[in-house]
């Protein structure tokens, strides 16, 4: 099981928690990007911040097998 | 960190036309010959001008002799600052490559004397830039 907790407007659009059965190990950010595309969210991962649930940075090249849950929010406020 | 002690200085007289300014190692090294206290010498391996802090008196004869007015002074340093190529591995090149700008790279020193053409004060370089792009 791999869960994503969204914050802010992302939660309003996508729900605050989404969980998935993952059969293969996928790169976390690639998984996230694909999910956003499939839900019609045209955001690039550059604009997002994905962290561990407690706010610590994701380990480099983290996969959906290494970690069970992430927290996702909009990073760049401005522009 | 000490920005003004950096041996490379970036000037920008026109928006978007940065001018990196540093020692280009003239084949005839006028600064070295102009130094009355023999504080300047040439590194045999890199061709860079080395400054002996104990001999430099900050008389600034080297600046006068330099066609690019390159040697710098800054508060807290009792000698002139000239790019010594960080003994072959310049920190500025490292940083510039690390962030992916790749605007600076180390090259083998050309053997011809044409490189002296590049030793110019920044305002002259800016003027050329200005004529080409901004006028």
């Amino acid at each position: 099981m791999f869960c994503i907790y969204f914050l802010g407007n992302l939660a309003a659009s996508l729900g605050s928690t989404l969980c998935f059965e993952v059969s293969e190990c996928r790169d976390v950010l690639a998984f996230l990007e694909e999910l956003l595309r499939s839900r019609g969210e045209l955001l690039s991962v550059d604009e997002l911040l994905a962290t561990l649930p407690d706010g610590r940075p994701l380990p480099p090249k983290a996969t959906t097998c290494d970690i069970g849950e992430i927290r996702v929010l909009r990073l760049l406020k401005g522009g | 960190m000490w920005p003004s002690a950096s041996r490379i200085t970036i000037y920008e007289y026109y928006p978007g036309a940065p001018i990196p300014h540093y020692c280009i190692q003239c084949p005839d090294y006028p600064c070295v010959s102009a130094c009355p206290t023999k504080a300047l010498s040439v590194d045999q391996l890199t061709g860079a001008v080395l400054v002996d802090p104990s001999l430099c008196t900050l008389c600034l004869k080297c600046v006068e002799a330099c066609p690019g007015k390159v040697p710098k002074t800054t508060r807290g340093k009792s000698h002139v600052l000239i790019c010594d190529l960080c003994f072959g591995d310049p920190a500025c090149v490292r940083e510039c490559s690390r962030v992916g700008y790749n605007a600076l790279k180390t090259v083998k020193k050309p053997s011809n004397t044409g490189i002296k053409h590049y030793a110019k004060p920044p305002e002259l370089v800016a003027e050329e830039f200005g004529r080409k792009i901004y006028m």
């Binding site: 914050l7 940075p57 909009r74 406020k77 401005g78 | 960190m1 807290g76 792009i133």
Partner: protein
């Protein structure tokens, strides 16, 4: 007490007395307020808090603060924060600007510059390490940005980092910005007018020493490269800068102001970063000192034989001086953006006021008789003329030079209308025009309460949001503006905090940031905003709200009919205030103030409650 990351010392300039001195800031004050926006709020509170309501932002009693933070120069990206009592909101706005002055202040041996009083004649402040001079600027007064930069260079004999104002600031235009490096603006707050009121044309700072020492050097260096690598990998920003917003916000998320926010969606491919790059960019990437991101691009356009240069146009300029004015011809948007830079106008605030004016004209609330010429959407010539009239306060430009809120009140007065009848077209919150990120589609970053509950009103770089103890909260922006970290080079808060602790030797935790430090800064800003004055006073029951336009359903685009409801907004604001430890009016409770160590605010807040009739 040893201090790291800062010198513990500000340069203080009294322009009335023509004197300069040094001012100590205690290490504990830094620990409590960090620097930048936080320190500015503290200093303003300490010095002007007791008489805040009567302080005229454009009078000599106001202060102009130019502050760095402990991370300035260390953390990649180079910003400082301009502040004072805002001539727009009457509160404190932390107005961040990317400028080489930020590191040169620190290498000159100071953490910031505080300007008090006002000069009789035009002056500029020149700092070279220990040498501080108040110099005659009579020959510089009146100059626009490009000319001023050249004149300063020939006067000094070299390039030197500077902050300056254009004619707009000199003419006390409330939408005037403090400018740097041709195209950079500290726009929110209107501090260009504060500089103008002090007859201060520029602040030039050359520092030649090192940055102050850091507490844990090895950890700092490691973190610095960690951040550099993360930020350098933001390829969308590197390649396109914020200009990509003209398509991504204007088309994809449908949250860009179009014709004074009547719409928030467009489908014009010629008005996109891809089209702009091809035709107009002459330099990409372009960056300020030590920045690994390089979101800036220099563009060039020729209109009627005149050549214009500007940055981008970056998203905000493109949106506010383009689509918001119904102008989609990129060369002309570049021209307006360049003109705003040169005149020293905040493109966001001025574009907001101009769009408002065109809508009033269209509705017949102002006429040719008022303005002197016709105002039309997308008509470059009338828009250019209007912008110049604002900067020089010519004719009706003098009314608009007061900013959208005050102009609305004035127009209503002239038309014998209740002010609500004109204010309903003013897309502003508490005197500050809303940045170019709408809330109606909910696909962009600002939450429905982003502006209504912000201590900086319509400022899109300081937005409120739930949960109050997460990066969505305004505390997060207050922290970045205090540290001072650019929001585009920021990374996970955990890492930024580690960075701060490595530089300062502090042990600030996320818990402390949200429950104490950040909340302390935000609470003081909120109190000062509600104290307001002298010409504006905000009532939480009325003004903690969105502009009426945001309650109209979107008329076009993929999110047609999308809307936010006022009930939802008011409920969310109540929840947000509760989480912050503020009462239902957004006034920090006595318990919260005591917990934050703000004992001297307790009585002030009691008076405030009484005055608002909510005690």
């Amino acid at each position: 007490m040893q201090i790291y990351g800062s010198w513990g010392k500000l340069l203080s300039v009294d322009l009335s007395a023509g004197k300069t001195s040094e001012e100590r800031i205690h290490p504990i004050t830094y620990r409590m307020f960090v620097g930048g926006r936080g320190l500015a709020t503290y200093i303003l509170w300490r010095e002007l808090g007791k008489k805040w309501g009567s302080v005229d932002p454009l009078g000599p009693e106001n202060m102009l603060t130019i502050l760095t933070g402990p991370l300035t120069g260390y953390y990649p990206g180079i910003k400082l924060v301009v502040s004072g009592k805002s001539p727009q909101s009457g509160g404190v706005v932390g107005s961040a600007i990317s400028s080489h002055v930020a590191y040169s202040i620190k290498t000159a041996g100071y953490d910031g510059i505080i300007v008090r009083g006002a000069s009789r004649d035009p002056v500029y402040i020149y700092v070279r390490d220990d040498l501080v001079e108040i110099r005659d600027a009579s020959k510089l007064w009146g100059l626009k940005g490009l000319e001023l930069t050249k004149s300063l260079r020939s006067e000094l004999g070299r390039d030197a980092p500077s902050l300056y104002i254009g004619p707009a600031g000199e003419n006390l235009v409330r939408t005037a910005a403090v400018m740097a490096r041709w195209f950079h603006a500290a726009g929110y707050g209107g501090y260009g007018a504060v500089m103008g009121s002090k007859k201060l044309k520029a602040i030039v700072v050359e520092g030649s020493g090192p940055l102050p020492p850091v507490a844990r050097r090895d950890e700092f260096l490691k973190l610095r490269y960690e951040v550099i690598d993360k930020v350098a990998a933001r390829s969308t920003f590197r390649v396109w800068g914020t200009t990509s917003g003209l398509w991504r916000v204007g088309h994809d998320t449908s949250s860009e102001p179009i014709r004074n926010w009547v719409e928030e969606w467009h489908n014009r491919e010629e008005f996109s970063h891809v089209a702009i790059e091809k035709k107009y960019w002459i330099k990409n990437p372009w960056a300020d000192w030590g920045c690994p991101l390089a979101c800036m691009k220099v563009s060039k356009a020729v209109v009627d034989g005149v050549t214009y240069y500007t940055d981008g146009p970056d998203y905000e300029m493109g949106a506010y001086l383009g689509s918001n004015l119904g102008l989609f011809e990129v060369d002309k948007v570049i021209a307006l953006s360049a003109l705003a830079d040169d005149l020293g106008l905040c493109g966001i605030q001025t574009g907001n006021t101009m769009g408002f004016a065109v809508e009033l004209y269209e509705r017949g609330l102002i006429t040719r008789e008022d303005v002197g010429y016709e105002l039309k959407w997308g008509d470059f010539y009338c828009l250019k003329r209007l912008m110049e009239d604002i900067a020089y306060r010519r004719g009706f430009g003098g009314v608009l030079a007061e900013g959208t809120y005050r102009a609305a009140v004035e127009v209503a007065k002239r038309r014998n209308l209740p002010s609500e009848e004109v204010l309903k077209y003013a897309v502003q919150v508490k005197g500050i025009g809303v940045g170019a990120h709408g809330i109606r589609s909910r696909k962009d970053y600002p939450q429905p309460i982003a502006y209504a509950a912000s201590v900086q009103g319509g400022d899109h770089t300081s937005v409120a949001g739930l949960p109050a103890d997460s990066e969505e909260s305004e505390i997060s922006s207050a922290f970045l503006d205090s540290a001072v970290v650019c929001s585009f080079t920021s990374v996970e808060e955990e890492t930024v905090l580690k960075f701060l602790n490595a530089v300062t030797g502090w042990g600030v935790t996320k818990e402390e940031l949200y429950r104490t430090i950040g909340l302390r800064i935000l609470s003081l800003q909120r109190i000062l905003l509600l104290l307001g004055g002298p010409d504006v006073r905000w009532d939480p029951r009325v003004h903690d709200d969105n502009p009426l336009r945001f309650y109209e359903p979107l008329p076009s685009g993929p999110y047609t009919n999308s809307v936010v409801s006022r009930d939802e907004v008011l409920n969310s604001i109540a929840e947000y205030y509760k989480q912050l430890g503020w009462d239902s009016y957004g006034i920090p409770t006595e318990e919260t103030l005591r917990k934050l160590g703000l004992y001297d605010a307790v009585d002030v807040v009691k008076t405030l409650r009484r005055e608002l009739g909510v005690s």
